[in-house]
């Protein structure tokens, strides 16, 4: 079987759902003729036509608002943010209109908002952000971030079929770097379920998105020191799979929470808080966090490298924790 990139997996997932369900359509900037800034929607305009692949004006708030309106009428829109950073312009529609709708008046909003996120590509302060933490405080919303091609496809399908609004955060650093064999038949990866990427008993790293690879690299290098590290990829950030988080924490007793977003106010704080409260008796050391610096994402390579959490940072935290 051929290898499928993370990017292609997303494209396949959307494509298949559009084939299967005529309520599904795409809207966003340059998603049509151009196929999207990163080509996630390449070929879709030709195949599905301009009624279902809609190039919009530069209006993120209207993109999301229109998706909401169409979803009220039974459609299943998939809205693209050209870079996820621009989702800030649609913050109001997402948090106030979409997320609260079912709760307020029983009208579900089955929309997907997706876009390229993350750093490590020298995109600077406005093309590198991880925005999950900005939306994490929003009951009614779901947030997923796949780390593998398999999950990328399975989660986009689950997101499209979900009856609630889902933020689907793609990591652009993984788009073409990650390739794997994925099943040709239809499958979904359930929203709300974490997965163990590597088993271990000595230490746990709880993480998601591109940072999963940083965690795996750290885990690999710890083997040499005789340390078996469990890596838990939470995949869904909201609602959080607390059960899986606590299971790992209780098993390994020493936990690092790792994410690429900056530290303060990051989703990591919530994960730590759940562990600190509900697995307290099992802990053999402080729950540590490794994350990006508390600054905007800088542009120049030495700055960005310093900014992002590196494998060495994880190793340093691990050694401190292991020595506990």
């Amino acid at each position: 079987m051929a290898l499928t990139t993370y990017l292609e997996a997303i494209r396949q997932g959307i494509w298949e759902e559009m084939e299967k369900d005529e309520r599904v359509f795409i809207l966003g900037e340059d998603v049509g003729v151009y196929g999207g800034a990163f080509k996630v929607t390449a070929g879709m305009l030709d195949h599905f036509g301009p009624q279902r692949v809609i190039d919009t004006p530069i209006s993120e708030s209207a993109i999301v608002g229109a998706a909401i309106g169409a979803s009220y009428m039974g459609m299943r829109p998939v809205a693209e943010m050209q870079f996820i950073d621009f989702i800030s312009c649609a913050f109001d529609q997402i948090t106030n209109v979409a997320a609260k709708s079912r709760y307020r008046w029983g009208a579900g909003v089955p929309i997907v908002i997706r876009g390229p996120s993350g750093g490590n590509t020298h995109g600077g302060p406005f093309h590198s952000q991880n925005v999950e933490s900005y939306f994490f405080h929003t009951p009614g919303l779901k947030i997923v971030q796949p780390s593998t091609a398999y999950d990328a496809k399975g989660l986009i399908k689950a997101a499209i079929r979900d009856d609630d609004p889902v933020l689907y955060l793609e990591h652009k650093y993984l788009y073409r770097r990650i390739k794997e064999e994925i099943p040709e038949d239809d499958y979904v990866v359930p929203i709300g379920k974490a997965t163990v990427r590597r088993k271990g008993n000595d230490l746990g790293i709880i993480t998601y998105g591109a940072a999963v690879y940083t965690a795996l690299e750290a885990a690999e290098s710890l083997t040499a020191e005789g340390v078996e590290t469990e890596v838990l990829d939470i995949r869904t950030i909201l609602p959080l799979d607390e059960e899986a988080v606590l299971e790992t924490a209780k098993k390994v007793s020493k936990v690092i929470v790792l994410h690429e977003a900056c530290l303060t106010g990051g989703a990591g704080g919530e994960i730590v808080a759940r562990i600190a409260e509900k697995a307290f008796d099992f802990l053999d050391g402080p729950v540590m966090r490794v994350a990006a610096q508390d600054t905007p994402v800088p542009y120049s390579p030495p700055l960005e490298e310093y900014f992002l959490p590196q494998t060495d940072d994880v190793l340093q935290a691990a050694r401190k924790l292991l020595a506990y």
Partner: protein
């Protein structure tokens, strides 16, 4: 304050063509609207029975009623906070409406949200969110789905003049214009946004002056003349329905109260209230209909009594309704949870 611009302006002659039974309905719904809002604002609110703030459309009833009468079974409205008429016309019962204001479980939103923030997809009404202008992209999306599926349906999008300053208003209107979506933007220009007068809200005399900037027709209509409202709305809705794209109609009117029940509108020159009192839309229709012998005083009295009874019943029913259970707080955040 008369019809202006674009096709069919100043077709006052046409008013004669509006059949008597439509006029009677217009009168009924304007009166019902006023009575319900009176009860909410001037009675129940003062009795401390209303939860939270109260916004009414007193003096502006012709707008939601005159336009709402044009809604076909499958058309969809995104009303705002002065559009009580829409809810009544769409068949949301006065009982559920009063219960809504009282925060009861039997209210339209089961106590989850309050006052005008009510909606019901079965009645093709999308609930207002406080954030002004947010309903414009939403209405565009509703219309987009109609266009995609080739359905003969129109979205009715309501806002005050103040809401048109929001970025979302611009984005939504522009999107509708680019894709020629079947949506009509109805603006109630009551000349104030809270305490802010028109000249601090926009540099133009009319909201409709913005319509050409989206290649869209924009009419200015007397919003206190329900027959003019009805006709202008028909023109706009026909246009949208026939696939020509969005249409904007601006209704000049006046807010005959403060912004909300706690605001005495001290910032509004008294003369303005006096001037606009003379233009009361209900009085005007009554005068016109009686002078044409389209309705008798007796019939009006019967109508008033019926309305009083309906609202009495609604208040009584609502007042007896239970509050939601505290644990209902946790329901419906997500599907099936």
């Amino acid at each position: 304050m008369i019809d202006r611009k674009s096709e069919g302006a100043t077709r006052t002659n046409k008013k004669a063509e509006i059949p008597k039974d439509i006029k009677t309905q217009l009168l009924y719904y304007m009166k019902l609207t006023r009575e319900i809002e009176y009860r909410i604002e001037r009675v129940l609110y003062r009795q401390g029975k209303i939860v939270g703030g109260v916004y009414v459309g007193r003096g502006q009833e012709a707008i939601s009623v005159g336009t709402g009468m044009l809604m076909g079974e499958n058309d969809v409205a995104t009303p705002t906070h002065r559009d009580m008429g829409i809810f009544l016309l769409r068949g949301i019962s006065p009982r559920r409406i009063i219960a809504q204001y009282m925060g009861r479980k039997t209210g339209v939103t089961k106590g989850k949200d309050g006052n005008m923030h009510m909606g019901d997809l079965k009645h093709n009404i999308i609930a207002f969110v406080s954030h002004l202008g947010d309903n414009v992209p939403v209405a565009a999306g509703v219309a987009l789905s109609f266009k995609m599926r080739g359905e003969d349906r129109v979205a009715f999008c309501y806002n005050g003049e103040g809401a048109t300053s929001r970025g979302d208003w611009h984005e939504g209107v522009n999107l509708a214009a680019v894709h020629k979506l079947p949506v009509v933007f109805f603006i109630n220009n009551n000349q104030y946004a809270y305490s802010t007068p028109m000249d601090l809200q926009m540099a133009t005399e009319n909201v409709a002056d913005r319509a050409p900037g989206y290649s869209m027709p924009g009419d200015v209509v007397d919003g206190n003349d329900v027959l003019a409202v009805y006709e202008s709305a028909k023109r706009a809705v026909d246009w949208a329905r026939s696939g020509k794209g969005p249409y904007l109609v601006e209704y000049k009117t006046f807010r005959m109260t403060g912004h909300s029940a706690h605001d005495d509108a001290g910032y509004v020159p008294k003369e303005l209230f006096e001037e606009w009192k003379k233009k009361d839309p209900i009085e005007r229709l009554v005068t016109q209909m009686t002078s044409r012998n389209e309705i008798t005083n007796e019939e009006i009295e019967r109508m008033d009594n019926e309305i009083t009874a309906v609202v009495d019943d609604a208040v009584e029913w609502a007042d007896k309704s239970p509050y939601p259970d505290p644990e209902d707080c946790l329901r419906d955040v997500y599907y099936d949870r």
